[in-house]
């Protein structure tokens, strides 16, 4: 018997998981929320999403081709995710050139400067978003009104987000029970009929994506649940202590990108901890920081900063939060 046989060490089987499958799975999970953003913000949302995705892909391609001289990996889907996530974090009336700058910062600085997919410590889309927020605070905090602004883009009619309204009013000493009457109902928040960035408004559609990712085992529940649970409990305690000067916990969960952050950004596998224990610590940390920034910080919105700060702790968490070993000798 003579035949050239392949020789390699075991295992000789490989499961069906691949980077592409995971990335495209995440993209599918983002589609419901993306369609919701098209529904509420119309043309502006479509333009912003398209520009963000195309420029993310283009920058990744150009950098790999001409600077790193490596084979291109744009088909793995991760640049598309960064593009969509960036768009999810922008208002629908943001001028095109700012969207392009955001995509450039996300891909070039947030991702490629660290060595590309898998090596970046910070969530690239958030790096892009925070850069824009700090550099262009005015454009980044004007929010088109949903549905009414469907057919307009730059000159869309705008309104403040519920989170901003509440923050401002609480600072002026208005009681929360009064403010709550002036903002959209919780039902509107749940279905997404509120002002805000593209992806943060429609809680229900984000949840559909979450369930999809859980079923396909793309992510586990630990980060989203620990993060949202912490926001709920922490803001709940503050609210119980003084129901008039703090917003209630349901409000905190439903607004300001808490869902978006918990489901799609904190769960970014590259920038989150490896062990279950570590993931829970990470989620709790984001939750605490979010409430602290929202209630005591200068910005009404805290999720992005909270996630980026906790991203920085991931190596430390990975070092100290090991999975429980089988047969660990109890000391």
């Amino acid at each position: 018997m003579n035949k050239l046989l392949t020789i390699s060490p075991s295992p000789h089987l490989h499961g069906d998981a691949s980077v592409k499958k995971i990335m495209y799975g995440v993209i599918i999970a983002m589609i419901p929320a993306m369609l919701a953003s098209f529904f509420y913000f119309g043309i502006g949302a479509v333009i912003t999403t398209l520009v963000a995705v195309v420029s993310a892909l283009l920058f990744e391609y150009l950098i790999q081709r001409f600077m790193l001289k490596k084979p291109s990996s744009i088909t793995d889907g991760s640049a598309i995710i960064t593009g969509i996530l960036l768009a999810f974090n922008l208002p629908s009336n943001l001028p095109v050139h700012l969207v392009i700058i955001g995509a450039f910062v996300a891909i070039a600085i947030g991702k490629m400067s660290f060595g590309g997919l898998g090596n970046n410590p910070f969530n690239p889309a958030l790096v892009g978003r925070v850069f824009l927020l700090i550099s262009f605070p005015v454009q980044m905090t004007s929010w088109p009104t949903p549905i009414a602004s469907r057919l307009t883009y730059i000159d869309a009619e705008t309104a403040a987000t519920p989170l901003a309204i509440v923050k401002e009013a609480l600072k002026n000493g208005e009681p929360f029970s009064q403010i709550i009457k002036e903002i959209p109902s919780y039902t509107d928040m749940f279905i997404g009929n509120i002002g805000g960035s593209l992806g943060e408004i429609s809680v229900v559609f984000l949840l559909i994506g979450f369930v999809y990712m859980l079923i396909r085992k793309i992510i586990t529940w630990h980060i989203p649940v620990s993060m949202l649970g912490t926001i709920f409990i922490f803001s709940g305690i503050l609210w119980l202590v003084n129901p008039e000067s703090f917003a209630d916990p349901v409000f905190h969960i439903l607004t300001g990108g808490a869902m978006l952050g918990a489901i799609f950004m904190a769960t970014d596998m590259v920038t989150s901890p490896m062990s279950i224990k570590g993931q829970i610590v990470f989620g709790v940390g984001i939750g605490i920081l979010t409430v602290l920034i929202r209630t005591f910080g200068a910005y009404p919105e805290g999720v992005s900063f909270a996630i980026l700060i906790m991203n920085a702790f991931v190596p430390l968490i990975n070092t100290y939060m090991k999975p429980k070993r089988f047969g660990e000798v109890v000391k």
């Binding site: 075991s10 998981a17 901890p273 999975p323 429980k324 089988f326 000798v329």
Partner: protein, 443 residues
Amino acid sequence: MLKTFPKGGVHPPETKLSANEAIQVLPIPDSVTIPIAQHIGAPSTPVVKKGDKILVGQLLAKSSGFVSANIHSSVSGTVQKIDNVPDSSGYKRQSVIIKVEGDDWDENIDRSKEVKDDISLSKEEIIKKIFDSGIVGLGGATFPSHVKLSIPKGKTAEILIINGVECEPYLTSDHRLMLERSEELIVGTKILMKALGVGKAIIGIENNKPDAIEKLNKVNDNSSISIEALKVQYPQGGEKQLIKALTNREVPSGGLPIDVGAVVHNVGTALAVYEAIQKNKPLFERIVTLTGKSVSKPANYLVRIGTPISAIIERSGGLPEDTGKVINGGPMMGKAVNFLDAPVTKGTSGITIMPDEESHRGIIKDCIRCARCTQVCPIGLEPYLLMTLTEKSLFERLEKNDVMDCIECGSCSYTCPSDRPLLDYIRLGKVTVSKIIRARRQQ
């Protein structure tokens, strides 16, 4: 809820193509090559020389230490030579090559089919006999069985576990054995219980073999032996995982099953023990599965040790056109074969033939830190980290991160979406770390 181990594991496609194929006796080849080292431990010392006339079951090589095993002839004939011959991985091993003449058995071996139930030998006699018969772990590990039965001072055996899990995809030799040799398996289990002096034994079987579970339950006449169905989850048959699943005891890191009072033997070993004790038959044949998606007749054979692997492949219709890889064992833990005329040894539980399209690995990509390897590791290790530490030669940290506890099950490499060769690197790391540990002990 079926019992299983608590952490990690994967579920590769079971692909048990030969599950319904009754065991056939493979014809005796013209010549056999019997390596003198078919077990973990010291190679044995040959006691025959060129030109000697040999009977089936005659001693060819004597055990050369406590952790070593006798080697017997599987055929009758003349010793042609004692030479270095490649094994299935291509390493040259000293082997006795015998030209087959007839099939004359040593007259002390009882060749009747009748199942002998009464165990007349004493505990010590049983262990001695198992040693004399050259019995080693037939699940693939080939650890000399008498060593596992000799309980070290200060430890006590409380429970015997018979491993009928067969969690490797494709392989069905243990399955068929449990179905077709059930009575003998039960007697073998009783013998092992007597040798250990334990009052309880569990036969653990994955739930994808309901016929074997049913059959064993039917023939089992001893209330201290129980038959347990286990969840289909790889590596359920790993010693530590199996003990945990069945008894909820956790073998400590770096320890042995006996540290928690357990002794594990494979079903094949239990049958060999039966034959040795009740029939006076040393270990010189075993059941081998020949399988693969393109194999025309996947089957289970009773094979004399020393038969060339190629002879089994021929019997099942020859090597398929699209063959890319031949594996000695199953696809998760087996070793790739590069010499098809190499002999079947005591550890050959099956030969799996993979089509070319399934024989190659994917392109290695960067780790995306998805934590899947960590989630599936049954030992709770961090394979991605162990690989990185090996790459960077950070052996001290590698040891601190418990690399030596890896059971080399391959679940991590199997599951990695970036096709990273995690286990390859972990093995490399283990080699260096064990050298470091040995050097430290010597100081």
